[in-house]
Symmetry: C2
Subunit: 423 residues, 2 copies
């Protein structure tokens, strides 16, 4: 069966809704968000009923326990979700902000104004709260959205989407401003990726395979949120206690996220003095160390380490686990070159007291976020003060790093004249 007509209809409806939504005032958008937050409480029973179906199907299909846990919505999670919706309502509206203004010698008054992108498709995997998070950020930024969630959460997502539509309708916003793709069939995905007639941007959120599939098949522009292979580089002039604190935090505070560190590089001049200390601290947190030959030689007599030789792949692998690749580097320049070669240009940090070295690192490391004496774990929309984020872009176009409401916008030039023509 072809899903082309269905997807085209969704696209056309989204485009129409986006034109209304683009000029909707902030009060009305916020009213819709607050109504949604209320509905998540008032209508909790329909969400739990839908969620129960998904959980039963997941159990029957033998899904792993962590995945089932991510699917599950209980009262506490629903309350947190409603609270996050209220927080987005309280954020400033990015639409209409004047970004630049110039009057040309011929009198043309050129204003660069922030406007919504238009229609955004979000393609994501199992967690149903993504449905609400993305719908809310798109709505606040004046974008219509088409949501395509994972099949495991299909019933829950459908129920959540019905409440979003109810909130839109009750506040006089177009019902098609948020549409959930009403089929979990894989075949509906490709026509969505190619609908550049109506869709202006696709944001895939999920594992590397999903993002790769979307990037390879889309003709609509994609903003990718790929993996984070983040490195902490401990420089020759690092403060040992600071190095230990930052390495430990970046690796172990929450290993399963993209801004956690995967690599530890250390300058050869301080490796003998400092690496064993760092390794022991990591070892106490149960971190496996995949080490290059020089680091192996230095650490082989330490007791209690999970020490294994690093393979060629290790320095470009996102473990999302208590594993860290360790390498002794001959110089700052070598550290920078290795990060640019093996890393994913997400978030990288230098630990040093040497300002010259730090500035060289900050300029030379070609990553979205570079840190001097801080943990990479701060790469996050909330931590950056953006209020919320739809993801962390690993692309360089449009948005790089955490994407908040402003990054969900484009701009237009609005030009006031009084009869100017081109000579």
């Amino acid at each position: 069966m072809s899903f082309v007509p269905l997807i085209e209809t969704l696209g056309r409806q989204a485009r129409e809704a986006s034109l209304t939504l683009a000029t909707a005032d902030s009060a009305r958008k916020n009213a819709a968000l607050l109504r949604l937050a209320a509905l998540l409480g008032e209508r909790a029973e329909i969400i739990f009923a839908a969620n129960k179906k998904d959980l039963e199907a997941a159990a029957a299909a033998g899904l792993p326990k962590p995945m089932i846990d991510r699917l599950m919505l209980d009262g506490k999670r629903l309350a947190a979700l409603a609270e996050s919706v209220r927080q987005v309502a309280a954020l400033p509206d990015p639409v209409g902000e004047e970004l630049e203004r110039t009057t040309r010698p011929n009198g043309l008054d050129i204003r660069k104004i922030r406007v919504p992108i238009g229609v955004i498709a979000i393609i994501y995997e199992s967690r149903p709260n993504v449905t609400v998070d993305c719908a809310v950020l798109c709505l606040k930024s004046g974008n219509a959205c088409i949501l395509r969630g994972g099949k495991e959460a299909f019933e829950t997502n459908t129920a959540l989407a019905s409440l979003i539509v109810q909130a839109l309708q009750e506040t006089g916003l177009p019902a098609h401003a948020v549409q959930f793709v009403p089929t979990a069939d894989r075949a509906a995905l490709e026509p969505l990726l190619k609908l550049d007639q109506y869709i202006h941007c696709i944001i895939p959120r999920g594992g590397e395979a999903l993002i790769r599939y979307v990037a390879d098949h889309a003709t609509v522009p994609v903003i990718k949120h790929f993996k984070g292979v983040c490195t902490i580089y401990v420089d020759r002039d690092a403060d040992p206690a600071l190095a230990e604190k930052i390495v430990l935090n970046a690796k172990t505070q929450r290993p399963g996220v993209c801004n956690a560190a995967e690599n530890l590089f250390i300058h050869q001049d301080v490796a003998a003095a400092l690496l064993p200390r760092l390794a022991r601290a990591l070892g106490q947190k149960n971190v496996e160390l995949r080490s290059d030959p020089a680091a192996l030689a230095l650490l082989k007599n330490e007791a209690g380490l999970k020490l294994v030789p690093a393979s060629g792949e290790d320095f470009s692998t996102e473990y999302m686990d208590l594993i860290m690749a360790v390498k002794i580097v001959p110089s700052l320049d070598a550290a920078i070159a290795d990060i640019n070669r093996y890393g994913s240009a997400h978030s990288d940090a230098i630990v040093t007291r040497d300002e010259t070295a730090a500035k060289k690192f900050l300029a030379g490391v070609d990553s979205a976020t570079v840190y001097w004496n801080a943990s990479t774990r701060f790469t996050d929309g909330f931590e950056f003060g953006l209020g919320a984020e739809i993801g962390i872009s690993t692309d360089r176009l449009h948005a790089r790093g955490p994407m908040g409401l402003r990054e969900l916008c484009s701009y237009k030039y609005v030009i006031y004249g009084n009869g100017q023509v081109r000579e």
Copy 2:
């Protein structure tokens, strides 16, 4: 023969060069540009010799005269090209500019800094000056570039590229910062479009077929420069003389460019009084009018018009010629809806004395550039004061409308800490 190894080599070399170029200081980049401007004079003979080969091949292949003219480089054109290089050298360097800065409650000092995108591939058609224009804008903005020109200008482009490389080498910049694809074989294009390992952005410049091909086949992010189907809407409260002046300028001052107007919409309340006057003025400039039934009825007794019925396609066609589609609309809202439906979201104008109508149009028309009482012909990097442009984006991500040096940049977050870790 597979061009994959060749293209991969170009990509790897570009990536390496980009890392050096990203931190090159403005003085060195400008020195390279000025050296290139000088070489375009000093070494003119090698360009003319190469250009002669292209022109002979074009004549032998029976290329149309306008195309042969676009291929041709003479002393005057070369001098103008050198002058444009000097102008780019004189522009401010966009790299390193601090876009935002915030200190978080935990003391993290977060700076958002403008940086080059990285590696940009430009894919274009016959005019050889594009080789120099694009190389120079990429160089100034710190981007390495891979240039893929049309086969008709292959010899000229190769000669120009050799001078660019000479200028890079003489000023101590990496020779691979600008690389021209050393084959005109069509089969070299596809591997370039899929080299997202090394290339961060593709900008196609040329006809719709080329841009469509690139957008459909690329996995690298593309910034499209599609067609301009621009509309002048003459409102109920338009000043008649102003309307005539703007319509005439937008249609006839240079019909073969993307910001020329293709459609004329006029409010029904003033059609009888004003459309015949506008039609006569356009007729005197030899413009064919493809008119909807109501406009046909109104104009059928006017002498000397090239009047034909409009087909369904006419209101979404980029003529690039002395042809204009004409339509009488029942209201401002209908004009806005038709522009959003038929136009290409490039540049559209309203002519009116009514501020309320103007503001509704400026907000409601979903185009990159919207004008009140001015010709659409001003949508241009120079006219906007950007100093130069690499094209006019019809996309909504990253850059919309004219793309200057700043739009050839991304940003990164540079974060100064003193031991911050995530709780």
